[in-house]
């Protein structure tokens, strides 16, 4: 939830990777909560497996797909890759908004 405060700030060169890292962590935390309540045990699996399973539990296939995309994009952004530039603010904002929507959906499922 601290993500929003990160979105607008573009002063430090580190911010995109930091925001990506925090965004991914928020998504993972939310998913862990979902598994604990709805399908205990899934949280033990690899993230790839968890994201494959997600459509069956989230109740919104498109959102599950967006979440999977956001997760892999954020993961790429958190690592330094040779020849690769950090994401733009706009891209980052879109992935983070997908993450937010997913978290919101998980909240409605688990509360």
């Amino acid at each position: 939830m601290k993500l929003l405060t990160w979105e607008g700030e573009s002063t430090a060169g580190l911010w995109p990777r930091a925001a990506a890292l925090l965004g991914r962590q928020a998504l993972e935390t939310s998913l862990r909560r979902l598994w604990t309540l709805k399908a205990p045990g899934v949280e033990e699996c690899s993230w790839q497996a968890q994201l494959l399973v997600l459509p069956a539990f989230l109740g919104d296939e498109q959102l599950a797909e967006d979440a999977a995309h956001a997760w892999s994009a954020l993961t790429r952004a958190t690592h330094h890759h040779a020849y690769e530039l950090p994401p733009t603010q706009e891209e980052l904002a879109r992935w983070l908004s997908d993450v937010q929507r997913t978290i919101h959906k998980v909240d409605t499922l688990t509360n």
Binding site: G41, A49, L52, V53, H81, T88
Partner: protein, 820 residues
Amino acid sequence: MDESLQLAVHKELAESGVLDEDWSVLVIAACEDAGMVEDVLGGSAAPAPPLEEAAELRPKGAYLGPLTVQGFRGIGDEVTVDLQPGPGLTLVVGRNGSGKSSFAEALEVLFTGDSKRWATRTKVWKEGWRNLHHARAAQVQAHVFIDGRPSPTVAKRQWADEAALEESTATVKAPSKSPAGLEALEWTEALTAYRPFLSYNELGSMLEGGPSQLYDALAPILGLEDISLAQKALAVARQSRENLRKQAKNDLLPLLEKLRETSEGTNDERARACLDALGEGQAWDLEVLESQLVGGPKDPGAGQQISILQQIATLVAPNPAQIKDASTSLRNAVANVEAVAGTETERASETASILEEVLAFHAAHGDGDCPVCGSADALGAGWRTRSEAQLGELRQAAQAADRAHEELRSAITVARDLIHAPPAALPWCDEVGLDGAPAAQAWGEWAKGKGLQNAPALAAHLEDTAPALCSAVEELKKRAADEAERLQDAWRPVALELTEWLGEAREAERARANVPLIASAEKWLKKAENKFRTERFGPIRDQVIELWKLLRQQSNVRLEDVTLTGSATRRAVDVAITIDGADGSALGVMSQGELHALALSLFLPRATLPQSPFRFLVIDDPVQSMDPSRVDGLARVLEKVARDRQVIVFTHDDRLPEAVRRLNIPATVLGVTRRENSVIEIRTSQDPVTRSLKDARSLAATQELPANVARRVVPGFCRAALEAAFIRMIRTRRLAKGIAHADVEDAINESTTLTTLAALALFDDKGRGGDVMTHFNNKYGGWAWDVFMRCKEGPHQGFGGNLHDLVNGTENLARKLLVT
């Protein structure tokens, strides 16, 4: 002009309220052809109004099926790329030199006879197209699935041994038709307008070619070329008319010079009048010109000078012979009268009068005394007889005297009638430069005789004044005739030329009257073209901007607007951008990768317009020069396009397939490898069926996954694999039968359960779900039905059995289904 465009023009004419303008018919005529414009201007024809509602022609859509290539470029022995007809994304992946681009080129050459990327290459390069490792003739062949054709159409291009690239023959074999030329596909125009082949090189060159080349590449999709033709027809009509006037003006120059010479040389007033009528900087007064050319007495004011000269030259002077006769008659008559004057004859006349009266008295009162002298009984029968005889004698004598007097009177009349007042033309001599004074003076002297009563004086006047008059008038007449002749000699050739020119000028003026009409029609048509262009380009523009948003990714360039502007040499595509919010003028500031993304944004919409017959799109190497990590945007774009188009992408590295896998985009990935001697192998490394199976298998193998979750999720992926297999079967079957592509997709989308999809795939009838079990049992055995049911119900109820077995069973079933 095609009917729908004609109708659009007509509607626009009506809506803009100009249908009543007299030039609107020219717009309609121009939409027909240039000949009709002339016919309408000439009044010999009127254009037919366009049909009420032109039927919109939906092209018959086409997908590509298997592509077979041999002996072409990097490909040696025959090899087939198993393209699946129908919408979806197919990636053909191979290292540089693996031959995958040869497939893209082969497709392009097959249908266009040429490849854009070769167009600028050298001859040596072009000659190297033939594969070195292949002895047999080069050949490219593709199956084309066309709406409404009961089975695929085969398009084939072949080269004889040693033949050059251009020397190929292409044939098209449609079902139940004999082979025909490539034109039987009716794609010639569409291949330019909606070009379904996009290669990296071509996209780059599109933007390098400048705004007008870009315009030429985009404008045909708007279908407005015919409006340009109509504009051209009007412009030609207008220019030809303006040229007539220019020609007449040029032709007039030497004539004006001649007129000036004539005017100065002979002082001919006709020349001056013509100069005034045709003077520079004013409209020609052709009426005045004509009156000068045909002028004469009937046109007062016109050619007065020559007319005066002619009148003077034909003056009637008194005839000397007549004058002599008249004076002789006068003198004779005078002599005769003098001869009878004071003689018996005069008295006799009076005596006869008295006798006549007395005889009348006697006849009334009878015999009696003389009433004059009173002598008794003087009047009696004897007296009467004597008197009557005496009266006869007296009368004869009196008549001679009367005749002499009568003759004198008539001689005077004749003489005086010879004398006229001076003719009206005589005083005009000054005006035409003749000295009329001697003649006028002589005539004045002569005219004085008119009042003379005295016959001898009259005769003397005639004899005295006539000779001077005659000689003066004759002299004057001769001089006038000479002057007239001189003027006419100078004028005649000029007049002749002017008459000829007059016809030309009249035609030019008539033609010129139409110029404002044509110009109005042109102006309106240009405005209409701009309007149509904006209207028709609007949806494409929106797509371009949308695509750019997806593709730009890293770029800070925002595409604000794309417009087609201008015409003829100033035609251009205007690409308005902002960079971090500041206005920029497009192409100059973009990087190579951005330009390429922009070109893709511009040309993908062109290739996917609804009016294009191509339901397929071939993109070669779109990833080149793209930012390594920014291929995601491209993958998303391709996913979007592939929803209702067959998108075939050839790419040389793994970035795009990787993005497609990572983003979970449904796609078929074909790997191309090249062995020695150009032997090409293609294997399917991924398609929607294998991808689902792969996901299912990886989940089934995930030890940590709780069993209750795995029981639900793994059958879901198995089910997705079967669905993908069924959909592929349905598409292949239905498209091959020529069923409209949209209908096929509708049928698939409407089949919401696995059973209806299966029925549609197996029996082409979604109502036969009940027969699926029997079919599976008979054809494959009981296991197939078990797998089917588990895939159907597992995702809902969970599947308690061995998940690995289920995945294997599903794979087995899917393979068997797709083989048949």
